[in-house]
Amino acid sequence: MFPYPSLETEKAQDLSPIILPKIQIKNLNVQVEGKQILKNISLDIPNNSITSIIGPSGCGKTTLLKTLNRLLDDQKEVEVSGSVLVNNEDIYAPGAEVTHIRKKMGLLSQKPFPLPMSIFDNIAYGPKIHGIRDKKALKQIVEQQLINVGLWEEVKDRLDASATRLSIGQQQRLCLARGLAVAPEIILGDESTSALDPISTQTIENLLIELKEDYTIVLVTHILRQARRVSDYILFLYNGEIAEFGRTEDVLLNPQNEITKQYVKGYIS
């Protein structure tokens, strides 16, 4: 058995059975335009599970998610200190190759954003830039990923149609398939269902639950019920600090921190 590294929360010692951490965050501090957004975050995100990041608006949920695949790099006046280890490699180490890091993480953003190309090309885009040129192989990847997200039957006759013609729920599944096509190890979701109707939301949630067999999933959500439905672990952020981290049932049913209690009960949001 692997010893689970210590967590800086009160529930740390109860986190068994032990799962190997996929992402290790150590003393992470993030400043954006002079304002401290994340304060001293240290956290291990377990492999093959869904971890939800919850907390009031502006607490730094999305910023934390974006530090995981270095999407913050593109923003101006951002200072990041500390380290984020993915598979024991520090992605903030000098000389770390950003393109390679990002390929490991599929991002499912708030609103689906199909690339300005056909359904087929949307999914084939990733594999293509990573060097797969063989048409047969591309076709196979596209079909496989569309089957994975349950979209194949709906679109198999119109793969050449523009991706923007799909309904918004279908677009979000397409975006998930597009992310999976580059064979990532981690899926990051930034309020991925907030633009969707309840049925599409359920489809995406079920997909994510299926996918955790093979991936490590980190979701930002502002819907507490969603976190309860899908996640194995919950991280509660408050004012850029970790207020609580632990198994879903522990955080929701038996929160240790006073602020978490209030949030879970709905006194703060």
Partner: protein
């Protein structure tokens, strides 16, 4: 709280102004087109399009302005092509590689704003002194260099504004798929493709219609443009020379030339619209 009546009157006044502006601009357009049609159509003939100036042309005798039509087309196509070729990499570099809001990005944008506003006669004068220094005489080449310099800021400014309309999501998507910045830039180009045609068209319109820039640098010739290092006629200059003539027939030809120039631009606008609408297939 203000009276609903007063607010409705305010709206009526505002709407009235908008409609008035619309009428003024449409009216002037019809007036311009009407004038050149009225004055130019009687002089427009197949001879006018198919021949170079013949003996006594400037006295109202035979010949046409094929030299100027071809010269303008060569000049405008070549310089728009070059300006696009140089402008696109500049815009992509500023938007993909240079950090937004950085000193370089801001000063580059300011620079292109200034270049955009410089009158073409200044470009002509500068290019002319450069040509003298390099030993190039007034020629098609000189004109192409000048008009390219003149149109680069148009391409850069227009494309820059188009790129600003691309949601950051696009960059997030491509980079989270592991795309390099260059690969992201290619998708961005794809996204703005319909607008790209508009930018090129704007540049072409400016290039084919400019007089001051070519006055010093391109010269004029009655012969068909054959070599890049020889003086070449252009439509705007032909119109200028013909209009300066005291002979009514030659003046009439100036309007016919203007009609041709307008028609050329119309054809190009239509073509680019058709091309652009074909590209809109995957637009979001």
């Amino acid at each position: 709280m203000r009276n609903i009546k007063a607010r409705l009157i305010e709206e009526k006044i505002a709407k009235g102004f908008m409609q008035l502006s619309g009428i003024i601009i449409t009216g002037s357009l019809f007036f311009i087109v009407g004038t050149i049609l009225y004055k130019g159509l009687p002089y427009l003939s197949w001879e006018m399009i198919s021949q170079t100036p013949q003996g006594g042309f400037y006295m109202g005798k035979e010949g046409g302005i094929l030299n100027a039509i071809l010269g303008s087309l060569y000049l405008a196509s070549a310089s728009t092509f070059l300006a696009t070729l140089i402008g696109i990499p500049i815009v992509l570099y500023l938007n993909v590689y240079v950090k937004k809001g950085s000193l370089l990005a801001r000063s580059a944008k300011l620079l292109f704003d200034v270049l955009f506003g410089i009158p073409s006669i200044v470009y002509g004068a500068i290019a002319f002194s450069l040509m003298v220094y390099l030993g190039i005489r007034a020629s098609l080449l000189g004109g192409i260099i000048t008009i390219t310099l003149l149109t680069i800021p148009i391409i850069v400014r227009t494309l820059d504004e188009l790129i600003d309309t691309i949601p950051t999501d696009l960059r997030h998507v491509t980079s989270s798929l592991g795309a390099t910045r260059w690969e992201t830039a290619k998708v961005m180009l794809k996204y703005i493709k319909p607008g790209l045609f508009t930018a090129i068209l704007l540049a072409f319109g400016r290039a084919i219609g400019d007089v001051a820039g070519v006055l010093l640098t391109t010269g004029f010739s009655d012969n068909l443009p054959k070599y890049i290092d020889e003086p070449t006629a252009t439509l705007p200059l032909a119109i200028f020379f013909q209009l300066s003539s005291p002979i009514p027939e030659v003046q009439g030809r100036a309007y016919a030339s203007a009609l041709l120039l307008t028609f050329l631009i119309l054809v190009i606008v239509l073509c680019s619209h058709i091309l652009a609408s074909k590209q809109k297939k995957h637009k979001i």
